[in-house]
Protein backbone atom coordinates (compact mmCIF):
# COMPACT_ATOMS: atom_id res chain seq x y z
CA UNK A 1 0.00 0.00 0.00
CA UNK A 2 1.27 3.46 -0.78
CA UNK A 3 2.47 5.96 1.81
CA UNK A 4 1.31 9.49 2.26
CA UNK A 5 3.42 12.24 3.81
CA UNK A 6 1.79 14.80 6.10
CA UNK A 7 3.63 18.05 6.84
CA UNK A 8 2.78 21.05 8.97
CA UNK A 9 5.11 24.04 9.23
CA UNK A 10 5.92 26.57 11.91
CA UNK A 11 7.73 29.64 10.67
CA UNK A 12 9.45 32.07 13.00
CA UNK A 13 9.67 35.37 11.25
CA UNK A 14 11.39 38.44 12.70
CA UNK A 15 9.21 41.53 12.43
CA UNK A 16 11.31 44.40 11.10
CA UNK A 17 10.74 47.03 13.74
CA UNK A 18 13.33 49.60 14.80
CA UNK A 19 13.01 48.54 18.42
CA UNK A 20 12.45 45.29 20.30
CA UNK A 21 9.04 43.83 21.13
CA UNK A 22 8.88 45.04 24.72
CA UNK A 23 11.60 47.68 25.20
CA UNK A 24 13.29 50.60 23.46
CA UNK A 25 16.46 48.74 22.41
CA UNK A 26 17.58 48.83 18.79
CA UNK A 27 17.15 45.75 16.60
CA UNK A 28 19.91 46.58 14.08
CA UNK A 29 21.61 43.38 12.96
CA UNK A 30 25.34 42.88 13.39
CA UNK A 31 26.02 45.33 16.23
CA UNK A 32 28.79 44.63 18.74
CA UNK A 33 27.60 41.87 21.09
CA UNK A 34 25.37 42.90 23.98
CA UNK A 35 25.39 46.60 23.09
CA UNK A 36 21.65 46.57 22.33
CA UNK A 37 20.26 45.39 25.63
CA UNK A 38 18.57 46.88 28.68
CA UNK A 39 17.18 45.63 31.97
CA UNK A 40 13.90 44.59 30.26
CA UNK A 41 15.38 42.32 27.59
CA UNK A 42 18.01 41.06 30.05
CA UNK A 43 15.24 39.87 32.35
CA UNK A 44 16.35 41.87 35.35
CA UNK A 45 13.99 41.86 38.32
CA UNK A 46 11.28 44.50 38.51
CA UNK A 47 11.27 45.42 34.85
CA UNK A 48 8.00 45.61 32.94
CA UNK A 49 7.43 44.90 29.24
CA UNK A 50 5.57 47.41 27.03
CA UNK A 51 4.56 46.11 23.61
CA UNK A 52 5.78 47.80 20.40
CA UNK A 53 2.84 49.21 18.42
CA UNK A 54 4.46 48.52 15.03
CA UNK A 55 4.92 44.84 15.87
CA UNK A 56 1.15 44.71 16.45
CA UNK A 57 0.29 46.52 13.20
CA UNK A 58 2.61 44.34 11.13
CA UNK A 59 1.21 41.14 12.62
CA UNK A 60 -2.30 42.34 11.79
CA UNK A 61 -1.24 43.26 8.24
CA UNK A 62 0.21 39.78 7.74
CA UNK A 63 -3.01 38.23 9.02
CA UNK A 64 -5.10 40.29 6.65
CA UNK A 65 -2.88 39.31 3.72
CA UNK A 66 -3.58 35.62 4.33
CA UNK A 67 -7.32 36.27 4.66
CA UNK A 68 -7.33 35.41 8.34
CA UNK A 69 -9.47 36.50 11.26
CA UNK A 70 -8.00 39.24 13.48
CA UNK A 71 -8.79 38.80 17.16
CA UNK A 72 -9.66 42.26 18.46
CA UNK A 73 -8.68 41.02 21.89
CA UNK A 74 -5.67 38.75 22.22
CA UNK A 75 -3.58 37.62 25.17
CA UNK A 76 0.01 37.00 26.17
CA UNK A 77 1.36 34.03 28.06
CA UNK A 78 4.65 32.86 29.48
CA UNK A 79 6.37 29.84 27.99
CA UNK A 80 8.78 28.59 30.64
CA UNK A 81 12.08 26.91 29.92
CA UNK A 82 15.70 27.29 30.93
CA UNK A 83 18.36 28.12 28.40
CA UNK A 84 21.20 30.61 28.75
CA UNK A 85 20.05 32.68 25.77
CA UNK A 86 16.67 33.24 27.44
CA UNK A 87 17.52 35.49 30.39
CA UNK A 88 14.02 35.74 31.90
CA UNK A 89 13.60 31.95 32.02
CA UNK A 90 10.45 32.36 29.96
CA UNK A 91 9.45 33.63 26.56
CA UNK A 92 6.52 36.02 26.26
CA UNK A 93 4.25 34.55 23.59
CA UNK A 94 0.58 34.22 22.72
CA UNK A 95 -0.63 30.75 23.65
CA UNK A 96 -4.34 30.78 24.33
CA UNK A 97 -5.62 33.67 22.19
CA UNK A 98 -3.27 34.70 19.33
CA UNK A 99 -3.79 37.91 17.39
CA UNK A 100 -4.43 36.08 14.08
CA UNK A 101 -6.39 32.88 13.44
CA UNK A 102 -7.52 30.87 10.46
CA UNK A 103 -6.10 32.06 7.14
CA UNK A 104 -4.70 30.38 4.06
CA UNK A 105 -2.05 30.52 1.37
CA UNK A 106 -2.58 29.27 -2.18
CA UNK A 107 0.33 27.53 -3.86
CA UNK A 108 0.64 26.76 -7.57
CA UNK A 109 0.36 23.07 -8.47
CA UNK A 110 2.13 21.17 -11.25
CA UNK A 111 -1.03 20.95 -13.38
CA UNK A 112 -1.28 24.74 -13.44
CA UNK A 113 -3.95 24.90 -10.74
CA UNK A 114 -3.79 26.02 -7.14
CA UNK A 115 -3.86 24.23 -3.80
CA UNK A 116 -5.12 25.99 -0.69
CA UNK A 117 -3.06 25.43 2.46
CA UNK A 118 -4.51 26.45 5.81
CA UNK A 119 -2.76 28.72 8.29
CA UNK A 120 -3.93 27.91 11.81
CA UNK A 121 -2.66 31.01 13.54
CA UNK A 122 -0.08 33.78 13.77
CA UNK A 123 1.02 34.75 17.23
CA UNK A 124 3.34 37.45 18.47
CA UNK A 125 6.32 36.55 20.61
CA UNK A 126 9.90 37.56 21.34
CA UNK A 127 13.15 36.09 20.05
CA UNK A 128 15.84 34.64 22.30
CA UNK A 129 19.50 35.65 22.30
CA UNK A 130 22.22 33.90 20.37
CA UNK A 131 24.43 31.11 21.71
CA UNK A 132 27.82 30.46 20.18
CA UNK A 133 29.72 27.21 20.63
CA UNK A 134 32.19 27.10 17.79
CA UNK A 135 35.84 26.98 18.72
CA UNK A 136 34.98 26.90 22.43
CA UNK A 137 35.81 24.05 24.73
CA UNK A 138 33.86 23.87 27.97
CA UNK A 139 31.85 27.06 27.59
CA UNK A 140 29.36 28.79 25.35
CA UNK A 141 29.16 32.50 24.58
CA UNK A 142 25.91 34.44 24.73
CA UNK A 143 24.97 37.57 22.80
CA UNK A 144 21.64 39.03 23.92
CA UNK A 145 21.25 41.69 21.21
CA UNK A 146 18.58 39.47 19.64
CA UNK A 147 16.82 38.87 22.96
CA UNK A 148 13.38 40.46 22.72
CA UNK A 149 13.34 41.11 18.97
CA UNK A 150 9.71 40.73 17.86
CA UNK A 151 8.71 37.53 16.07
CA UNK A 152 5.62 36.28 14.38
CA UNK A 153 5.17 32.54 14.61
CA UNK A 154 3.12 31.46 11.62
CA UNK A 155 1.65 28.00 12.14
CA UNK A 156 0.18 26.03 9.24
CA UNK A 157 -2.39 23.26 9.20
CA UNK A 158 -0.93 19.81 8.42
CA UNK A 159 -2.00 20.33 4.81
CA UNK A 160 1.17 19.66 2.82
CA UNK A 161 1.58 16.24 1.28
CA UNK A 162 5.17 16.47 -0.02
CA UNK A 163 8.42 18.30 0.58
CA UNK A 164 7.79 20.20 -2.65
CA UNK A 165 4.46 21.49 -1.36
CA UNK A 166 6.12 22.52 1.89
CA UNK A 167 8.77 24.47 -0.02
CA UNK A 168 6.14 26.08 -2.27
CA UNK A 169 4.24 27.23 0.83
CA UNK A 170 7.41 28.60 2.42
CA UNK A 171 8.46 30.45 -0.72
CA UNK A 172 5.02 31.97 -1.07
CA UNK A 173 5.03 33.04 2.57
CA UNK A 174 8.59 34.34 2.33
CA UNK A 175 7.69 36.46 -0.68
CA UNK A 176 4.55 37.72 1.04
CA UNK A 177 6.22 38.94 4.22
CA UNK A 178 8.89 40.80 2.27
CA UNK A 179 6.24 42.23 -0.01
CA UNK A 180 4.23 43.51 2.91
CA UNK A 181 7.40 44.98 4.39
CA UNK A 182 6.77 43.20 7.69
CA UNK A 183 10.09 41.35 7.74
CA UNK A 184 13.45 41.46 6.05
CA UNK A 185 13.07 37.71 5.56
CA UNK A 186 16.85 37.28 5.36
CA UNK A 187 17.28 33.58 6.06
CA UNK A 188 21.02 33.79 6.61
CA UNK A 189 20.43 36.32 9.35
CA UNK A 190 17.82 34.05 10.93
CA UNK A 191 14.95 36.39 10.11
CA UNK A 192 12.92 33.51 8.62
CA UNK A 193 13.33 30.09 10.27
CA UNK A 194 11.29 26.97 9.91
CA UNK A 195 10.30 23.97 12.01
CA UNK A 196 8.66 21.12 10.11
CA UNK A 197 6.29 18.58 11.67
CA UNK A 198 6.48 15.43 9.59
CA UNK A 199 4.56 12.17 9.75
CA UNK A 200 3.63 9.38 7.35
CA UNK A 201 0.53 7.22 7.06
CA UNK A 202 -0.92 4.69 4.71
CA UNK A 203 -3.46 6.42 2.47
CA UNK A 204 -6.81 6.83 4.17
CA UNK A 205 -5.55 6.09 7.68
CA UNK A 206 -5.44 8.59 10.58
CA UNK A 207 -2.34 10.77 11.06
CA UNK A 208 0.78 8.92 12.13
CA UNK A 209 3.12 9.97 14.96
CA UNK A 210 4.97 13.12 13.98
CA UNK A 211 8.48 14.31 14.59
CA UNK A 212 9.56 17.92 14.62
CA UNK A 213 12.55 19.04 12.57
CA UNK A 214 13.89 22.14 14.31
CA UNK A 215 15.14 25.47 13.20
CA UNK A 216 16.07 25.21 9.55
CA UNK A 217 16.99 28.33 7.64
CA UNK A 218 17.46 27.34 4.01
CA UNK A 219 14.88 26.04 1.55
CA UNK A 220 17.32 23.42 0.36
CA UNK A 221 17.97 22.03 3.85
CA UNK A 222 14.26 22.01 4.67
CA UNK A 223 13.55 19.93 1.57
CA UNK A 224 16.41 17.54 2.31
CA UNK A 225 15.42 17.22 5.96
CA UNK A 226 11.78 16.44 5.17
CA UNK A 227 12.70 13.90 2.51
CA UNK A 228 15.20 12.23 4.84
CA UNK A 229 12.63 12.09 7.63
CA UNK A 230 9.93 10.56 5.41
CA UNK A 231 12.26 7.75 4.35
CA UNK A 232 13.39 7.20 7.95
CA UNK A 233 9.83 6.94 9.27
CA UNK A 234 8.63 4.59 6.52
CA UNK A 235 11.60 2.31 7.14
CA UNK A 236 10.85 2.19 10.87
CA UNK A 237 7.19 1.30 10.31
CA UNK A 238 7.88 -1.23 7.56
CA UNK A 239 10.38 -2.92 9.86
CA UNK A 240 7.60 -3.29 12.41
CA UNK A 241 8.79 -0.45 14.65
CA UNK A 242 7.09 2.68 15.92
CA UNK A 243 7.96 6.31 15.26
CA UNK A 244 8.74 8.16 18.49
CA UNK A 245 7.39 11.69 18.88
CA UNK A 246 10.49 13.83 19.32
CA UNK A 247 12.37 16.90 18.15
CA UNK A 248 15.11 16.28 15.64
CA UNK A 249 17.94 18.45 14.41
CA UNK A 250 19.04 18.52 10.78
CA UNK A 251 22.78 18.19 10.28
CA UNK A 252 23.40 19.81 6.89
CA UNK A 253 26.99 18.58 6.76
CA UNK A 254 26.17 14.89 7.23
CA UNK A 255 22.80 15.24 5.47
CA UNK A 256 20.99 13.41 8.25
CA UNK A 257 18.90 14.25 11.29
CA UNK A 258 19.44 13.28 14.89
CA UNK A 259 17.29 13.22 17.98
CA UNK A 260 17.43 16.20 20.39
CA UNK A 261 16.93 14.48 23.71
CA UNK A 262 17.31 17.56 25.87
CA UNK A 263 14.38 19.27 24.15
CA UNK A 264 12.25 16.24 24.86
CA UNK A 265 12.78 16.52 28.58
CA UNK A 266 12.11 20.21 28.61
CA UNK A 267 8.93 19.92 26.60
CA UNK A 268 6.75 20.79 29.57
CA UNK A 269 6.51 24.54 29.09
CA UNK A 270 3.99 25.22 31.89
CA UNK A 271 2.31 28.06 30.02
CA UNK A 272 0.46 30.57 32.14
CA UNK A 273 -1.02 34.02 31.52
CA UNK A 274 1.61 36.79 31.46
CA UNK A 275 0.69 38.83 34.54
CA UNK A 276 2.75 41.84 33.36
CA UNK A 277 0.61 42.41 30.27
CA UNK A 278 -3.12 43.09 30.18
CA UNK A 279 -5.03 41.87 27.11
CA UNK A 280 -4.14 43.49 23.80
CA UNK A 281 -7.16 45.26 22.34
CA UNK A 282 -7.35 46.68 18.84
CA UNK A 283 -10.40 48.32 17.31
CA UNK A 284 -12.09 47.28 14.09
CA UNK A 285 -11.33 50.80 12.81
CA UNK A 286 -7.62 50.24 13.36
CA UNK A 287 -7.80 46.92 11.53
CA UNK A 288 -9.74 48.53 8.68
CA UNK A 289 -7.16 51.30 8.40
CA UNK A 290 -4.36 48.72 8.14
CA UNK A 291 -6.37 46.86 5.50
CA UNK A 292 -6.87 50.06 3.51
CA UNK A 293 -3.11 50.60 3.43
CA UNK A 294 -2.34 47.07 2.28
CA UNK A 295 -0.30 46.97 -0.94
CA UNK A 296 -1.34 44.93 -3.96
CA UNK A 297 -0.17 41.40 -3.23
CA UNK A 298 2.23 39.39 -5.43
CA UNK A 299 -0.45 37.09 -6.86
CA UNK A 300 -2.74 39.96 -7.86
CA UNK A 301 0.17 41.93 -9.23
CA UNK A 302 1.37 39.00 -11.34
CA UNK A 303 -2.04 38.59 -12.91
CA UNK A 304 -2.38 42.32 -13.56
CA UNK A 305 1.07 42.54 -15.17
CA UNK A 306 0.16 39.73 -17.54
CA UNK A 307 -3.22 41.26 -18.44
CA UNK A 308 -2.30 44.94 -18.51
CA UNK A 309 1.18 44.81 -20.03
CA UNK A 310 1.04 41.54 -21.95
CA UNK A 311 4.01 40.10 -20.04
CA UNK A 312 4.89 36.42 -20.10
CA UNK A 313 4.09 34.64 -16.85
CA UNK A 314 7.84 34.31 -16.27
CA UNK A 315 8.48 38.06 -16.58
CA UNK A 316 5.38 38.88 -14.53
CA UNK A 317 6.70 36.57 -11.85
CA UNK A 318 10.18 38.12 -11.79
CA UNK A 319 8.77 41.65 -11.64
CA UNK A 320 6.38 40.85 -8.80
CA UNK A 321 9.05 39.21 -6.64
CA UNK A 322 9.35 42.23 -4.40
CA UNK A 323 7.29 45.34 -4.00
CA UNK A 324 10.35 47.41 -4.80
CA UNK A 325 10.83 45.73 -8.18
CA UNK A 326 7.14 46.05 -9.06
CA UNK A 327 7.07 49.75 -8.19
CA UNK A 328 10.28 50.35 -10.13
CA UNK A 329 8.87 48.49 -13.12
CA UNK A 330 5.71 50.56 -13.17
CA UNK A 331 7.62 53.82 -12.96
CA UNK A 332 9.74 52.62 -15.88
CA UNK A 333 6.61 51.85 -17.87
CA UNK A 334 5.22 55.29 -17.01
CA UNK A 335 8.38 56.86 -18.46
CA UNK A 336 8.55 54.55 -21.49
CA UNK A 337 4.89 53.70 -22.11
CA UNK A 338 5.25 52.60 -25.74
CA UNK A 339 6.60 49.14 -24.94
CA UNK A 340 5.99 47.57 -21.48
CA UNK A 341 7.54 44.29 -22.64
CA UNK A 342 10.78 46.07 -23.55
CA UNK A 343 10.68 47.65 -20.09
CA UNK A 344 10.27 44.19 -18.55
CA UNK A 345 13.21 42.74 -20.50
CA UNK A 346 15.55 45.56 -19.73
CA UNK A 347 14.71 45.67 -16.07
CA UNK A 348 14.56 41.94 -15.39
CA UNK A 349 17.49 40.85 -17.54
CA UNK A 350 19.81 43.78 -18.05
CA UNK A 351 19.54 46.11 -15.06
CA UNK A 352 18.89 43.52 -12.35
CA UNK A 353 21.68 41.37 -13.78
CA UNK A 354 24.15 44.25 -13.63
CA UNK A 355 23.07 45.19 -10.12
CA UNK A 356 23.49 41.62 -8.97
CA UNK A 357 27.02 41.55 -10.38
CA UNK A 358 27.78 44.79 -8.57
CA UNK A 359 26.29 43.39 -5.36
CA UNK A 360 23.68 46.14 -5.24
CA UNK A 361 19.96 46.33 -4.57
CA UNK A 362 17.50 48.04 -6.84
CA UNK A 363 17.18 50.75 -4.19
CA UNK A 364 20.87 51.59 -4.73
CA UNK A 365 20.67 51.43 -8.53
CA UNK A 366 22.88 54.11 -10.07
CA UNK A 367 20.47 54.16 -13.05
CA UNK A 368 17.05 55.63 -12.32
CA UNK A 369 13.86 54.51 -14.05
CA UNK A 370 13.83 57.82 -15.91
CA UNK A 371 17.38 57.39 -17.20
CA UNK A 372 16.72 53.82 -18.30
CA UNK A 373 13.54 55.00 -20.06
CA UNK A 374 15.63 57.55 -21.97
CA UNK A 375 17.78 54.69 -23.23
CA UNK A 376 14.77 52.56 -24.16
CA UNK A 377 13.31 55.50 -26.11
CA UNK A 378 16.39 55.42 -28.34
CA UNK A 379 16.08 51.65 -28.81
CA UNK A 380 12.40 52.15 -29.64
CA UNK A 381 13.01 54.77 -32.34
CA UNK A 382 15.89 52.74 -33.83
CA UNK A 383 18.52 55.36 -33.05
CA UNK A 384 20.65 52.60 -31.54
CA UNK A 385 20.58 48.83 -31.75
CA UNK A 386 20.31 46.43 -28.81
CA UNK A 387 24.04 45.73 -28.66
CA UNK A 388 24.94 49.43 -28.40
CA UNK A 389 22.18 49.93 -25.87
CA UNK A 390 23.73 47.31 -23.60
CA UNK A 391 27.11 49.03 -23.85
CA UNK A 392 25.47 52.37 -23.05
CA UNK A 393 23.78 50.85 -20.00
CA UNK A 394 27.22 49.67 -18.86
CA UNK A 395 28.42 53.27 -19.13
CA UNK A 396 25.36 54.59 -17.33
CA UNK A 397 26.11 52.30 -14.39
CA UNK A 398 29.39 54.21 -14.00
CA UNK A 399 28.33 57.77 -14.84
CA UNK A 400 25.45 60.20 -14.48
CA UNK A 401 25.16 60.83 -18.24
CA UNK A 402 21.87 60.21 -19.98
CA UNK A 403 21.58 57.96 -23.02
CA UNK A 404 21.54 60.77 -25.60
CA UNK A 405 24.74 62.26 -24.22
CA UNK A 406 26.54 58.92 -24.40
CA UNK A 407 25.20 58.16 -27.90
CA UNK A 408 26.44 61.55 -29.09
CA UNK A 409 29.82 61.34 -27.36
CA UNK A 410 30.58 57.83 -28.58
CA UNK A 411 29.00 58.17 -32.02
CA UNK A 412 26.81 55.15 -31.44
CA UNK A 413 23.93 56.21 -33.63
CA UNK A 414 22.71 53.18 -35.48
CA UNK A 415 23.43 53.14 -39.20
CA UNK A 416 20.13 52.49 -40.96
CA UNK A 417 21.11 54.09 -44.22
CA UNK A 418 20.99 51.54 -47.06
CA UNK A 419 23.85 53.13 -48.97
CA UNK A 420 26.20 53.10 -45.99
CA UNK A 421 25.33 49.53 -45.08
CA UNK A 422 25.74 48.35 -48.68
CA UNK A 423 29.19 49.93 -48.79
CA UNK A 424 30.30 47.99 -45.72
CA UNK A 425 28.79 44.75 -47.06
CA UNK A 426 30.57 45.10 -50.38
CA UNK A 427 33.88 45.69 -48.56
CA UNK A 428 33.37 42.59 -46.44
CA UNK A 429 32.51 40.54 -49.54
CA UNK A 430 35.59 41.80 -51.36
CA UNK A 431 37.79 40.84 -48.39
CA UNK A 432 36.32 37.31 -48.15
CA UNK A 433 35.96 35.94 -51.70
CA UNK A 434 36.19 32.27 -50.61
CA UNK A 435 33.26 32.62 -48.22
CA UNK A 436 31.22 34.41 -50.86
CA UNK A 437 31.88 31.53 -53.26
CA UNK A 438 31.02 29.05 -50.47
CA UNK A 439 27.76 30.78 -49.70
CA UNK A 440 26.79 30.93 -53.33
CA UNK A 441 27.67 27.23 -53.57
CA UNK A 442 24.98 26.44 -51.00
CA UNK A 443 26.66 26.90 -47.60
CA UNK A 444 23.79 28.91 -46.08
CA UNK A 445 25.37 28.74 -42.66
CA UNK A 446 27.96 31.28 -43.77
CA UNK A 447 25.27 33.97 -43.41
CA UNK A 448 26.11 34.20 -39.72
CA UNK A 449 29.76 34.79 -40.57
CA UNK A 450 28.86 37.69 -42.86
CA UNK A 451 26.50 39.28 -40.36
CA UNK A 452 29.25 39.10 -37.76
CA UNK A 453 31.83 40.64 -40.08
CA UNK A 454 29.53 43.48 -41.14
CA UNK A 455 28.54 44.29 -37.56
CA UNK A 456 32.19 44.28 -36.61
CA UNK A 457 33.14 46.54 -39.52
CA UNK A 458 30.38 48.96 -38.51
CA UNK A 459 31.68 48.83 -34.91
CA UNK A 460 28.31 47.46 -33.81
CA UNK A 461 26.35 50.38 -35.12
CA UNK A 462 24.65 48.84 -38.16
CA UNK A 463 20.95 48.13 -37.85
CA UNK A 464 20.99 44.30 -37.60
CA UNK A 465 17.63 43.87 -39.32
CA UNK A 466 18.81 45.85 -42.33
CA UNK A 467 22.16 44.07 -42.40
CA UNK A 468 20.39 40.74 -42.69
CA UNK A 469 18.11 42.01 -45.38
CA UNK A 470 20.82 43.70 -47.49
CA UNK A 471 23.25 40.78 -47.09
CA UNK A 472 20.69 38.32 -48.40
CA UNK A 473 20.13 40.60 -51.35
CA UNK A 474 23.77 41.34 -52.19
CA UNK A 475 25.11 37.81 -51.61
CA UNK A 476 22.70 36.49 -54.20
CA UNK A 477 25.00 38.20 -56.69
Amino acid sequence: MSWETVIGLEVHCQVNTDTKAFCGCSTVFGAEPNTQTCPVCLGMPGQLPVLNTVAVDKSILTGLAINAHINLESKFDRKNYFYPDLPKGYQITQFTVPIVEGGYIDIPTKDGGEKRLGVTRIHMEEDAGKSMHEGLDAVSHIDLNRSGVPLMEIVSEPDMRSADEAIAYLKQLHQLIRFLGVSGGDMEKGQFRCDANVSVRRKGEPFGTRTEMKNMNSFRFIKQAIEFEVVRQIEIIEDGGEVIQESRLWDSVKSESRSMRSKEEAHDYRYFPEPDLPPLRVSQQEVDAIKAGMPELPGELRKRFEAEYGLSSYDADVLSQTREISVWYESLVAAHPSDPKRCANWLANELLGRLKEAGKDLADSPVSAKRLAGLLDRVGDNTINGKSAKDILDDMMESDDDADTIIEAKGLKQVSDTGAIDTIILEVMAANPDQVAGYRGGKDKLMGFFVGQVMKASRGKANPGMVNQRLAELLKG
Binding site: T17, D18, T19, F22, C23, G24, C25, S26, E32, P33, N34, T35, Q36, T37, C38, P39, L42, V50, L51, N52, T53, V54, A55, V56, E73, K75, N80, F82, Y83, P84, V97, S131, M132, H133, L136, D137, A138, V139, S140, H141, I142, D143, L144, L249, M260, S262, K263, E265, A266, D268, R270, P273, P275, L277, P278, P279, L280, R281
Partner: protein, 92 residues
Protein backbone atom coordinates in the same frame (compact mmCIF):
# COMPACT_ATOMS: atom_id res chain seq x y z
CA UNK B 1 -3.02 14.54 44.10
CA UNK B 2 0.22 12.89 43.13
CA UNK B 3 3.08 15.18 42.18
CA UNK B 4 6.31 14.18 40.49
CA UNK B 5 8.44 16.44 42.67
CA UNK B 6 11.69 15.45 40.96
CA UNK B 7 10.31 16.42 37.56
CA UNK B 8 8.96 19.75 38.80
CA UNK B 9 12.33 20.44 40.40
CA UNK B 10 14.17 19.56 37.19
CA UNK B 11 11.93 21.88 35.14
CA UNK B 12 12.65 24.66 37.63
CA UNK B 13 16.37 23.87 37.79
CA UNK B 14 16.21 23.27 41.54
CA UNK B 15 18.40 20.53 42.98
CA UNK B 16 16.61 18.43 45.63
CA UNK B 17 17.78 15.53 47.76
CA UNK B 18 15.50 12.51 48.01
CA UNK B 19 14.62 13.52 51.57
CA UNK B 20 13.68 17.03 50.48
CA UNK B 21 11.58 15.66 47.64
CA UNK B 22 9.77 13.32 49.99
CA UNK B 23 9.07 16.18 52.37
CA UNK B 24 7.94 18.62 49.68
CA UNK B 25 5.61 16.19 47.86
CA UNK B 26 2.76 16.30 50.41
CA UNK B 27 3.23 20.04 50.94
CA UNK B 28 2.84 20.78 47.24
CA UNK B 29 -0.13 18.42 47.06
CA UNK B 30 -1.73 20.38 49.90
CA UNK B 31 -1.28 23.69 48.13
CA UNK B 32 -2.72 22.36 44.89
CA UNK B 33 -5.60 20.78 46.79
CA UNK B 34 -6.34 24.12 48.38
CA UNK B 35 -6.33 26.01 45.09
CA UNK B 36 -8.39 23.28 43.50
CA UNK B 37 -11.41 24.34 45.50
CA UNK B 38 -11.75 27.02 42.82
CA UNK B 39 -12.73 24.39 40.27
CA UNK B 40 -15.91 23.78 42.26
CA UNK B 41 -17.14 27.32 41.67
CA UNK B 42 -19.91 27.52 39.10
CA UNK B 43 -18.57 29.82 36.36
CA UNK B 44 -21.26 29.18 33.77
CA UNK B 45 -22.03 32.36 31.87
CA UNK B 46 -19.11 34.25 33.35
CA UNK B 47 -16.55 35.62 30.92
CA UNK B 48 -13.01 34.42 31.68
CA UNK B 49 -10.78 37.07 33.23
CA UNK B 50 -7.52 37.55 31.36
CA UNK B 51 -6.11 40.03 33.82
CA UNK B 52 -7.24 41.36 37.19
CA UNK B 53 -7.17 44.96 35.98
CA UNK B 54 -9.65 45.62 33.23
CA UNK B 55 -7.21 47.80 31.38
CA UNK B 56 -6.26 47.62 27.73
CA UNK B 57 -2.58 47.27 27.07
CA UNK B 58 -0.65 50.50 26.60
CA UNK B 59 1.70 50.35 23.61
CA UNK B 60 5.20 51.67 23.01
CA UNK B 61 6.22 53.80 20.02
CA UNK B 62 8.71 52.13 17.68
CA UNK B 63 11.51 54.55 18.63
CA UNK B 64 14.92 53.62 19.99
CA UNK B 65 15.24 55.02 23.51
CA UNK B 66 18.02 52.84 24.89
CA UNK B 67 21.70 53.29 24.16
CA UNK B 68 24.67 51.06 24.80
CA UNK B 69 25.01 50.42 28.55
CA UNK B 70 26.96 47.20 28.21
CA UNK B 71 29.64 47.85 30.83
CA UNK B 72 27.11 48.84 33.44
CA UNK B 73 24.72 45.98 32.64
CA UNK B 74 27.46 43.35 32.63
CA UNK B 75 29.04 44.55 35.86
CA UNK B 76 27.28 41.89 37.91
CA UNK B 77 28.00 39.01 35.51
CA UNK B 78 30.40 36.33 36.77
CA UNK B 79 32.27 36.01 33.47
CA UNK B 80 32.53 38.09 30.31
CA UNK B 81 34.79 37.60 27.27
CA UNK B 82 34.91 40.18 24.45
CA UNK B 83 31.54 41.53 25.53
CA UNK B 84 29.93 38.07 25.51
CA UNK B 85 28.43 36.30 28.51
CA UNK B 86 30.35 33.12 29.26
CA UNK B 87 28.22 30.18 30.41
CA UNK B 88 28.80 26.45 30.87
CA UNK B 89 28.72 24.71 27.50
CA UNK B 90 25.23 24.22 26.08
CA UNK B 91 24.88 22.32 22.85
CA UNK B 92 22.35 20.09 21.15
Amino acid sequence: MDIDVKKVAMLSRIRLTDDEAAELGPQLANIIGYVEQLSKVDTDGIEPTAHPHDAAMPLRANIVTNGNRRDELQASSPKIESGLYVVPKVIE
